[in-house]
Amino acid sequence: MKAEAWIIASVSVFLVIVTPIYWIASGDPTGTTALVMAALLGLLLTFFLAVVAKQIPARLEDRDDAEIAEGAGEYGFYPPWSWWPLWAALAFGAMILGAIFGWWLFAIATPFGAIALCGWVFEYYRGLYAH
């Protein structure tokens, strides 16, 4: 992960240098805000990548002597199927439309949104997946 951390760090350094120059040269608040936030974005990612790089040993893709076979095995948990994101998206869409067309629609959609969100978050904690 060190390579990624250095790449993003160099972007952050560039933005930290360029931002005050831009502000002094232009006096433009909009662009300066965008540059400040972009610099913070770079620093956030640099911090995250550097911390993870310290926590874990070099990954297979970081090593020159790694073999393809070493990457075999379980990578993570990917839900094999789920209809809940669809119901959640429909309910949240109706809630947002409620903010535009009338709060009655928001009030009707909110319970459905709550059910869909709980169904999604707890799907692999129930039934066959209870543990």
Binding site: M1, P29, T30, T32, T33, A34, M37, A38, L40, L41, L44, L45, F48, V52, I56, P57, R59, E74, Y75, G76, F77, L117, C118, V121, F122, Y124, Y125, R126, L128, Y129, A130, H131
Partner: protein, 224 residues
């Protein structure tokens, strides 16, 4: 014969309920994909708030007399107390994460022995502090509306309510996330790696929303 038949029927039932190791123990030596995904999403959230900050500073630059008039109506001491509560809630949230990393989901002592608290107690306290912050924001909105600052009263009102309102929605989203993490610890009989990661990514989100508020507080109340 009956023994063999029972064995044949039992086997598929037993294998369907196996929970993957990545959920129970995680994948050591690899970054958690949930964590990486959360940080990517938080990056886009950062740029979303960048747009709100840019709008604030742009409109502020073109109408300084409006700012001088409307910022005088802000209740800075009240907002400072509210900000302190939110910043401290990040500390309690982090203690909940430390408990989760040790695999300590519930308290091992009495409720007032906070040193013995687990993830649930720390997150519940964080929830209460976040809820106090949202309630404080609502009170402040009422006060400002009485002073004539509304969403469509002026450019100041629009940027103020859009920036703090979108932040408030994020805090409410975080409150829901705390409840869902606590809910997961009660849904499962054992505390898994997946639950610990859920707690950690919710803490990332909470710290992020907290830092955005510190930026908004400095912009709106300190710098004005």
């Amino acid at each position: 014969m009956p023994r063999l038949r029972r064995g044949l029927i039992m086997t598929p039932v037993a294998t369907t309920s196996v929970i993957p190791a990545s959920r129970l123990h995680g994948q050591p030596n690899r970054p958690s994909q949930v964590t990486v995904g959360t940080v990517v999403w938080l990056s886009s959230e950062l740029m979303f708030f960048a747009a709100l900050f840019a709008a604030y500073f742009t409109i502020r630059a073109v109408s300084p007399e409006l700012w001088a008039l409307d910022t005088a109506k802000l209740n800075v001491p009240f907002a400072t107390v509210n900000t302190t509560i939110l910043v401290l809630s990040s500390v309690t949230c982090q203690w909940g994460v430390f408990a989760a990393e040790k695999g300590k989901v519930g308290r091992s002592g009495k409720i007032w022995q906070f040193r013995e608290w687990g993830l649930r107690e720390w997150f519940a306290l964080t929830y209460v502090m976040g809820a106090i912050f949202v309630a404080g924001q609502a009170l402040e909105y009422v006060e400002l509306v009485h002073h004539g600052i509304t969403l469509d009263s002026s450019g100041y009102g629009s940027t103020f309510y859009l920036a703090t309102g979108f932040h408030g929605l994020h805090v409410i989203g975080g409150l829901i996330a705390f409840l869902l993490v606590i809910g997961r610890t009660f849904m499962a009989r054992r505390f898994t790696h997946e639950q610990a990661i859920s707690a950690i990514v919710v803490s990332y989100y909470w710290h992020f929303v907290d830092i955005v508020w510190v930026g908004l507080f400095l912009t709106i109340y300190a710098l004005q």
